[in-house]
């Protein structure tokens, strides 16, 4: 009886041991990997090697140049050498130790018949018109027309579209090459540090505001719609490759400048000196409503008609002389112009006096400011070159080309740094989740950067710029996706604090029973030894 009871207990003990072992086995073999897999942060695969390869990308810009010689400009024996092509590489240093290689592919050829006709016409405008029509000038390419010294076109200007006039009595190859050295930097001189220019964006918002602090004295009327239609819209259409522009306008009454102008008795006028100008913008900005307009960068252009008590108001530069344009601008923000009412309108009139704003004068200043805000400035002209002024649109194609080149390079640099910093962050902070759509944006961005670099190397500027904008947009979308913050504020010690109360009560009995089983087994091994 006792033996049967002992055998039954022994059986139960054995079953208990087996059950405990199975529990432990299931927990370790099945549970632990399952828990690990289901709690790891989800990271879709990213092309890390390609991203690090982007950093080492060598940018090469190709400029296709065509040099056209008219009949009289070249002596006959040299004419036989035409047409031929020369390739010339040059490294242009930019800031931050970046250098880009520029490749000028120069094709020398003889002038075609219609070009001969055009270049022998009397004035530059006619020549321009005739040269412009038949050929389609791709953006980023340059055509140089070499004319003889005796041509009637010479005393006039270098024409505004993507071509230059040049004369040399004997166009030996060496001479022409030397002249390239100082002519072509015209296109690549980054004069302003890129960071103080308007940031690169897909679209821009331009706001024209008329500030009338004294409506009791001045009834100001400005034909802004007509002016925008006639002057601003053509300029923006010419600049259209750089982004989408939207224009709006408003009139603000009783909006003062934050600074009191001082009275200058010598000219019996009021003035604002240069040091008080930075303080003018902030008090006005809150009333402009630019923050509600859109998410794109906003450029504000303000026209201020000073109140009767402070008329006329001039802006003084640092030497104390009144500024001719009576305007100033602030990088990345916009410009302000002060419009003084002509004193003749006050004679024998009852207040308020009607003021018609001369939109041409105003738009000349505003468009000049817009050019400066985008970094389109007058380049350093090499000697012996005259430059004709801008066309009626206010923008020359080679200025646009320059802007597009600078912006493409800047876009590529920005996209590359964004992708590289995303990769670095993923390495440093292990909590960031990468979902599939974010990963696809990263792939798109990498592909766009590579495509843009290829297009630049083959000289297609327009498609390179579009690809670079795509690269920036995709990389920013990937970096700033809201889902990347998902688990960011669960540091590791908080995770342990969550898991321990769940796992410890389960793990302690299993471990204790395993230990007990192990000790008993060791005891049962030792026992037979002892008896032996």
């Amino acid at each position: 009886m006792a033996a049967a009871g002992a055998a039954a207990t022994h059986l139960e003990v054995a079953r208990g041991k087996r059950a405990a072992l199975f529990f432990a086995a299931v927990a370790i073999v099945l549970g632990l990997p399952l828990w690990w897999k289901t709690t790891e942060t989800y990271r879709a695969s990213l092309p890390y090697s390609q991203i690090s390869g982007l950093n080492a990308l060598q940018l090469r810009l190709m400029v296709p140049v065509t040099v056209v010689f008219t009949r009289e400009s070249v002596p006959l024996d040299d004419q036989e050498k035409l047409p031929f092509t020369v390739v010339h590489e040059r490294e242009i240093p930019l800031k931050y130790k970046m250098k880009i290689k520029c490749r000028f592919q120069k094709a020398y050829r003889r002038a075609l018949d219609h070009e001969e006709e055009a270049l022998s016409s009397g004035s530059v405008q006619e020549a321009e018109a005739m040269l412009d029509e038949p050929q389609e000038q791709a953006e980023g390419s340059l055509t140089v027309y070499v004319i003889s010294e005796h041509s009637s076109l010479l005393p006039q200007f270098c024409p505004p579209f993507g071509s230059m006039m040049e004369s040399s009595p004997i166009p030996e190859e060496k001479q022409v090459q030397l002249s390239w050295e100082y002519r072509l930097p015209l296109f690549f001189d980054p004069q302003e540090p890129l960071t103080s220019l308007t940031p690169v964006s897909v679209g821009y918002e331009i706001t024209f505001s008329l500030l009338n602090p004294d409506p009791k004295s001045h009834d100001v009327y400005w034909d802004i719609e007509g002016a925008v239609r006639r002057y601003v819209q053509p300029f923006l259409n010419a600049l259209g490759a750089a982004g989408n522009f939207s224009v709006d306008s408003q009139i603000l009454y009783y909006a003062m400048l934050g600074v009191n102008p001082r009275f200058d008795s010598a000219s019996s006028s009021y003035y604002l000196d240069m040091h008080s100008l930075p303080h003018v913008i902030n008090p006005v900005e809150s009333r402009l409503g630019s923050s509600a307009a859109s998410l794109y960068p906003v450029l504000n252009f303000l026209l201020y008609v000073p109140e009767l008590a402070h008329s006329p108001l001039y802006i003084q530069d640092k030497d104390g002389a009144p500024v001719a344009t009576n305007a100033f601008h602030s990088p990345r923000w916009g410009g302000i112009m002060v419009y003084n009412v002509d004193s003749k309108t006050y004679n024998a009139s009852v207040l308020p006096v009607r003021v018609e704003v001369d939109m041409v004068r105003v738009m000349e200043v505003f468009l000049a400011q817009l050019r400066l805000l985008f970094g389109i400035a007058q380049p350093q002209l090499p000697p012996k070159c005259l430059l004709s002024g801008p066309t009626s649109e206010g923008l020359m194609t080679w200025e646009l080309d320059r802007l597009l080149w600078a912006r493409s390079v800047e876009n590529l640099a920005t996209a590359t740094t964004t992708l590289t910093s995303l990769a670095q962050l993923l390495g440093k902070i292990s909590n960031i989740v990468i979902k599939d759509d974010v990963a696809s944006e990263v792939y798109k961005a990498v592909a766009a950067v590579q495509k843009s670099a290829e297009e630049l190397a083959s000289g297609h500027l327009a498609s390179a710029f579009v690809a670079s904008q795509e690269a920036v947009t995709s990389s920013e979308l990937a970096f700033f996706d809201p889902s990347l913050l998902h688990l960011l504020y669960f540091p590791d010690d908080q995770k342990f604090a969550i898991y321990i109360p769940l796992f410890l009560p389960m793990a302690v009995p299993i471990l204790l029973s395993l230990v007990k089983i192990f000790l008993e087994t060791r005891k049962s091994w030792r026992k037979p030894e002892k008896t032996d």
Binding site: V323, P331, R371, S421, P482, L485, P491
Partner: protein, 395 residues
């Protein structure tokens, strides 16, 4: 021997020179002249002011934040560049004996609330997640512009936080915390994406210095009201309102800021001296090792004010006059004014759709703790009654 020694010395000197030059190249502002090197290269200023405490007895934290907001606005930063987060509304609190006011001096000298205070995140919107989203820019696309920190690589940002804190954490709304590691990681993400030029971090909580211990991104300067192990104390109670109105550190910082105007040349070293131990009881601390410039060259207005870079426009372009068209369009506009059509409101809400909506199918969620516990209890009782005997070996 001597030759190799001097060669290695020369090599190390060369290496350090190269490293220094790379370091200076890597800095975001490269100026040629020495004078410009010491000036900050920023073009705009932003401020993020956060009050993390809820409930009436934390009146002083809201008053702190609003006073800093006032100073920053007075010195020139516009509302569009300030992100103000207040966790509770003291002005309209039912316990406020003077409704619509928040005072920062006793005897009700200075009301820092008013009708030009623009609060961007109020009440329950002030959470750790929203704060981190504002800093890193990972904001859902529907967020309005006033709630975003749209800074760029030329922005100087001032971040002021106040509330209750401890060693390595800051309490948000009595229910969450932000740790110093998370804050440091958020600043690193800002640096990687070039969202700031320089950053000034001021914190007024107990053991505030622990919050800036873990920063590792460049160009950050930090100030705190007390060291680890010390408490920051409040300044003055007001018997009429019944709570403490301000904290000491912020009170003395504001006294200091009252003397600053947009054109002043006071530098950061003076700010470090504000509120010595005799006045503040706690020891304020600061951290400048991550900052590139010397604090004595850093102007207070670099962070608290907003001075824009301005250039005179000297050139114009030539446009052609079209005077006849102008006159005819003027006449057209005059006629248009008389013929304006009556204005009406646009369709705003799709009311029909809202009324006749079908009920949405809810997502299935796994059963919560209570249901699980109940079922576990039922199963255990079942097994106990029907006696699966070997279970006692396991439990």
């Amino acid at each position: 021997m001597a030759v190799t020694d001097s060669l290695s010395r020369a090599a190390t000197v060369l290496a350090t020179v190269l490293l220094l030059s790379f370091g200076s190249v890597a800095a975001s502002h490269i100026e040629d002249q020495a004078e410009q090197f010491f000036r900050s290269g920023h073009t705009n200023n932003w401020a993020v002011l956060v009050c993390t405490s809820r409930f009436w007895f934390n009146y002083r934290h809201v008053a702190n934040t609003l006073s800093v907001y006032r100073s920053v606005k007075r010195l020139g930063i516009p509302d569009s560049h300030i992100v103000l987060m207040l966790a509770d509304d003291m002005a309209c609190n039912p316990r406020n004996p003077k409704p619509a006011t928040v005072f920062s001096h006793k005897n009700m000298e200075l009301n820092v609330y008013g009708d030009d205070v623009e609060v961007d995140y109020r009440s329950y919107e002030v959470t750790v997640e929203n704060f981190l989203r504002v800093l890193t820019g990972r904001i859902p696309p529907s967020t309005p512009r006033s709630k975003r920190l749209l800074s760029d690589d030329r922005s100087n940002i001032l971040i002021y936080m106040t509330g209750h804190g401890g060693n390595g954490f800051l309490k948000f709304q009595d229910s969450e915390e932000i740790t110093n590691i998370e804050l440091a990681d958020a600043f690193e993400q800002m640096w990687q994406k070039r969202r700031y030029n320089e950053l000034l971090f001021i914190i007024d909580t107990c053991q505030g210095a622990s919050m800036y211990e873990r920063f590792y991104s460049p160009n950050i300067m930090a100030l705190a009201s007390s060291q680890v192990g010390e408490d920051s104390l409040s300044h003055q109670p007001d018997p009429a309102i019944g709570v403490h109105l301000m904290d000491r550190y912020t009170f003395y910082v504001l006294e200091f800021l009252e003397e600053i105007n947009p054109a002043s040349q006071t530098n950061m070293n003076d700010l470090f001296q504000v509120c010595p131990k005799s006045l503040c009881v706690s020891t304020p601390g600061h951290r400048t090792d991550l900052f590139q410039r010397d604090p004595k060259n850093v102007l207070i207005t670099d962070f608290f004010g907003s001075v824009r870079k301005v250039e005179i426009t000297t050139e114009t372009i030539k446009l052609q006059q079209d005077s006849e068209i102008m006159e005819s369009s003027y006449k057209e506009d005059q006629m248009d004014e008389k013929l304006m059509e009556p204005l009406k409101y646009a369709e705003q809400l799709p009311v029909a759709q809202i009324i006749h909506q079908k009920p949405k199918l809810k997502d299935w969620h796994p059963p919560g703790g209570f249901i699980l516990g109940l079922w576990a209890l039922i199963i255990m009782v079942f097994f106990k009654t029907y006696g699966i005997k070997h279970m006692k070996f396991i439990f």
